[in-house]
């Protein structure tokens, strides 16, 4: 029941987010506004157990949710055949650059920890 309540809350937040995005012409997608609304709701302790029991299983199997879209690659087979190698090169190189930049910038900005805890562990 907790998980169902939580799921109902998630859907309510998403629906409210979709309505808000359309009515107020906000540049944020509905689910993102839903995230912000849920954050506000979490200040109310009564909702926390049900949100946790819906959010945790959903997020722990997040990668499964990308499968239907991933299979959709075959729909774009024509476009991919035409630009495939170039699109793949752009995707791969930019992903590696972003991984390196995000990790290195965070390391540079966090002088003590987590680098500090790492040294303490040695």
């Amino acid at each position: 029941m907790q998980a169902l309540k939580g799921m109902a809350l998630l859907l309510l937040c998403q629906s409210a987010g979709e309505v808000l995005a359309r009515v107020a012409h906000l540049p944020l997608p509905g689910p993102v506004l839903g995230l912000l609304l849920l954050w506000l709701l979490l200040n109310w302790p009564a909702v926390r157990p049900s949100v946790a029991s819906a959010a945790e299983p959903l997020l722990s199997h997040l990668s499964l949710l990308f499968v239907p879209v991933g299979v959709g690659v075959i729909v774009h087979a024509g476009l991919i055949a035409q630009y495939g190698v170039r699109m793949l090169a752009a995707v791969l190189l930019s992903t590696w650059l972003a991984l390196a930049v995000a990790a290195l910038v965070l390391r540079a900005c966090l002088p003590r920890s987590p680098a500090g805890t790492d040294e303490a562990a040695r």
Partner: protein, 241 residues
């Protein structure tokens, strides 16, 4: 034999087929992934997608009839984005204490992902609507689709790029981090969530709990930053090109 063909034609046209095939293939791929000790190349999303694409191709099942079942799984992406409020909220004290560093790293990583993808695609001569679909590729798929539509791209193609990016990050990040001597799980997780959204975050969660938490945080930050900032960046810099 004819009965079997008729049965297949019936089954492959019902939503039951897409849903069952997706779940069964994913469960099998995930079991193999666990048996292999979470080897990056054995990524369950990668193998599930390849196996299902081969199955559809060999059986001649059109993608829309597969999707009529798989859409029930696809639909959960929206609530999953909303659900990211939970790990973010749980880490609110950390977020408050470290927000300048986290925000700067999220902005730098996100800008690198979008900017380098745009620049590389532009140099390689990709058409405008493909470029606009490429830019939000490091943001989780449902949000990337919305941003791509806003930028004049093709939402379905943006989702495909997002999945490819997630897979590229999840499969190769370990080797890149080892080469750059980035060993802290927090840094690895944060980078995975920033550059490779949900698929990268799922990988981080399987490897280390702290990496998973930072990945979820980074993923949430990308969603919050990219949705308003990418159209803004287009308005600011778009006229230069």
């Amino acid at each position: 034999m004819l009965d079997f063909v008729e049965l297949w034609v019936y089954l492959s046209a019902t939503p039951l087929f897409g849903l069952t095939a997706t779940l069964v293939t994913y469960v099998c791929a995930h079991t193999v992934y666990e048996r292999l000790g979470h080897a990056p190349w054995a990524n369950p999303v990668l193998w599930t997608v390849l196996l299902l694409a081969a199955l559809l191709e060999l059986s001649g099942t059109p993608y829309p009839s597969y999707f009529s079942g798989a859409q029930f799984i696809h639909f959960l992406l929206g609530p999953a984005v909303v659900a990211m409020a939970w790990p973010l909220w749980q880490r609110r004290h950390e977020l408050r204490a470290r927000w300048p560093a986290l925000l700067l790293a999220a902005l730098a990583g996100g800008a690198t992902a979008a900017g380098s993808a745009w620049l590389l695609g532009h140099l390689l001569g990709l058409p405008d609507e493909v470029l606009a679909s490429l830019v939000p590729k490091s943001v989780t798929a449902p949000v990337a689709m919305g941003i791509a539509a806003e930028l004049g791209g093709i939402p379905a193609l943006a989702a495909v790029f997002a999945v490819l990016t997630g897979l590229a990050g999840a499969v190769s990040a370990k080797y890149l981090f080892d080469a750059l001597r980035i060993h802290d799980p927090e840094l690895r997780g944060f980078a995975l969530g920033t550059a490779a959204h949900g698929i990268g975050a799922a990988r981080a969660m399987q490897v280390h709990p702290a990496a998973g938490a930072y990945a979820a945080l980074a993923l949430g930050l990308q969603v919050l930053l990219a949705a308003p900032l990418m159209p803004l960046a287009r308005d600011l810099f778009g006229h230069l090109f």
